[in-house]
Amino acid sequence: MRRIIIGGAALAAVAVLAAAAYGAAGSSRSVTLTLWHNYGTGGNAVATKNLVAAFQKQNPDIKINVVSQPGGNYFQLLQAAWIAHTAPDLSVQWTGLFDTKYEKQLLNLKQYFTPAELAKINGAKWSSSNFNPAQGLLVMPLENQFYMGFYNKALFKKAGVTSVPTNWTQLFAACTKLKNAGITPIVYGADPQAIGPSPYPYYDLSYIASGLFSPAQLKGLYTGSTPWTAPALVKAVSNWASMPKKGCTNSDVLTKTNILGAFMKGQAAMIVDGNWDTATLREAMGAKVAPFLPPFTDHPQHGVVQYSGDGFAVSKQSSHQKEAVQFLRFLMSPTAQHIIAAAGLIPDIRGYSATNPLANQMLAFAKSGKIAYPMIDNVIQGDVVTTGMKQLDAALGGNISAEAALKSMKQTHDALPAEQRGPVYH
């Protein structure tokens, strides 16, 4: 009899303990997500860290492990991780064709975001399937970016350049004045930003394209209905490649190192770059530096390359998709946008502004009626981008003609399999 009572009590005790344990576990049922980024040590990395901290504070039962992965080889690493099923829940992706490339691995966010919410995102279409938000967002952009020209107001004044050039003719006229004053008009060289050497020709090509096509017409370059060897394009790129010969640039366009330093020290009057150096430029040059739209056009430049180039996506292999999407939604909140602006980035949700006056000047272009263009290297096929990088540089360096460079790009384009040139963006 006593044994039965003791046994029963023991069982009851175990039951109570188990219930308590289950209850405790239930309330601390926390989810851990992994997030990979390739942001290095700059502003984006700081923003990511702060965003994750703020998100975890708002959602105590979701923890995010932030892993900084090497920038070079980042996408190769992601692919390898997807192959081996060790991929992270959240990962940084570049937008445009860089994310449609991995569409099979990324979670389509159509069911999670309403069209009204998507309308608040600048350039949502470039991070969506087939560049159509209705077909589902793939990447939640982190920031707004620009390809932009910067000029030194003081040097312009010194050389007698009274207005910022807005087309080829005015540009070459300004170059002559600057050259006569002993100043390098535009400085080109080994891109301080990119991991490799040599200039990155797509800042310039984006602005060349904006003078010839509307944003929708850029699709023609993708499908091939507008060949890379179109006469108007050849003429414009020839003009661009002739700049060194006309004395519009330094002579060692392909190999000069530390061009940002040259611009900051006042050796050159103009530089074509992006928004990522605005803090450095502002700090070094104060009010002397201002943004301008590279005038690689016959008619006055009407486009501004304003584009959200990177953001976060959820992997289809993630076992915590709902929680991962919660983080993406958090990115659109006011808290998140203020964190992004505080880190020196340009917010991508409509209605928010940046903290750097230079950045706000760049945002003003679109507000004053300039048309927003995507970064062209995000909307043409990767193989063509690779070919163009080599050949366009070679043209700028005077090794080959602009026409030969564009012909190579066309050859690469024509050699692509049909589904990579088809009506649907892949």
């Binding site: 390739n38 920038g71 192959i83």
Partner: protein, 282 residues
């Protein structure tokens, strides 16, 4: 020959020797400058802050402070050390035995085996690393030290075995024959005689493989995807981003990463000397 002529000849000899030596030193010092330039550059750049780097002058410790704040340098150096030392241990074990078999014993099939060993070096790593990765991922080797060690050992073994075989072939047969007559088996010959004689080659392999494994990026990146296991070389790659290359920090990091290899070499060169001065004294 008169006494005068003899003195003249001696003076001529001395003069010739002196110019020879002067020229030698000139060449050696010129090469020294060329070799040390990168270190000087790394040092100079790492002691500038980022704005100072752009402007081309200045001195600051900010970069060094930022480097240690941004990366877990100590942990990553430890990982690198552990992985590299274990891989070298495996490589040495495998290449000394292999070199002995292929270089000294030279049994019937050894030429074929030697050919296969050498050929396995000729396929570029980029082509076959993905199949390797997939195979090892299926076996669960990813994100473990032993996965990286296995791959590094396999990648370094052919070169090491090749060098050992070349080296062992140059060692004289009579020492071995004497030992065999004394009644030692081939196994004992290896441990008691050949290994001690092979110390210079072992030191060479150790130093060269150390640097190759320490500086490797692709294998470390693919097989050790988490920061806890990360090596310093992969860790340094997390400094630059797409649009922002922190040159001073990269230089500082590279300097830190280069130090162990330098230390290893300075330590091991004593063993290289031993072989050179000892010659083949029996």
């Amino acid at each position: 020959m008169s006494a005068l002529e003899w003195v003249e000849r001696q003076r001529g000899d001395v003069w010739r020797r002196r110019t020879g030596r002067a020229l030698t030193y000139l060449v050696l010092f010129a090469v020294t400058a060329i070799m040390l330039y990168p270190f000087w550059l790394m040092g100079q750049m790492s002691f500038r802050s980022l704005p100072q780097y752009y402007l081309g002058k200045g001195f600051s410790l900010t970069t060094w402070h930022d480097l240690f704040a941004a990366l877990p340098i100590g942990r990553e150096m430890l990982n690198s050390t552990l992985i590299t030392l274990c891989s070298i241990a495996v490589i040495l074990a495998v290449s000394t035995t292999g070199g002995y078999a292929l270089g000294t014993l030279r049994y019937r099939l050894s030429s074929l085996v030697f050919l296969i060993v050498v050929c396995s070096m000729m396929v570029p790593m980029q082509s076959m690393i993905i199949p390797e990765y997939i195979n090892l991922a299926r076996l669960g080797f990813i994100n473990h030290y032993y996965g990286a060690i296995a791959v590094y050992s396999a990648l370094g073994a052919p070169f090491a075995t090749f060098l050992m075989t070349t080296y062992f072939r140059r060692l004289p047969e009579d020492v071995i024959e004497a030992a065999l007559i004394d009644g030692l088996g081939y196994g004992s010959v290896f441990f008691r005689i050949m290994l001690p004689l092979a110390v210079p080659a072992i030191a060479t392999v150790a130093v060269l493989q150390f640097i190759q494994i320490w500086d490797d990026l692709l294998v470390g990146l693919l097989f050790l995807q988490t920061p806890a296991h990360r090596t310093i070389t992969v860790g340094l790659e997390t400094i630059p981003a797409q649009h922002f290359q922190n040159f001073p920090m990269e230089m500082a990091g590279s300097l830190v990463s280069a130090l162990p290899a330098v230390v290893v070499f300075l330590v091991f060169q004593r063993y290289l000397i031993r072989g050179l001065t000892m010659g083949m004294s029996k």
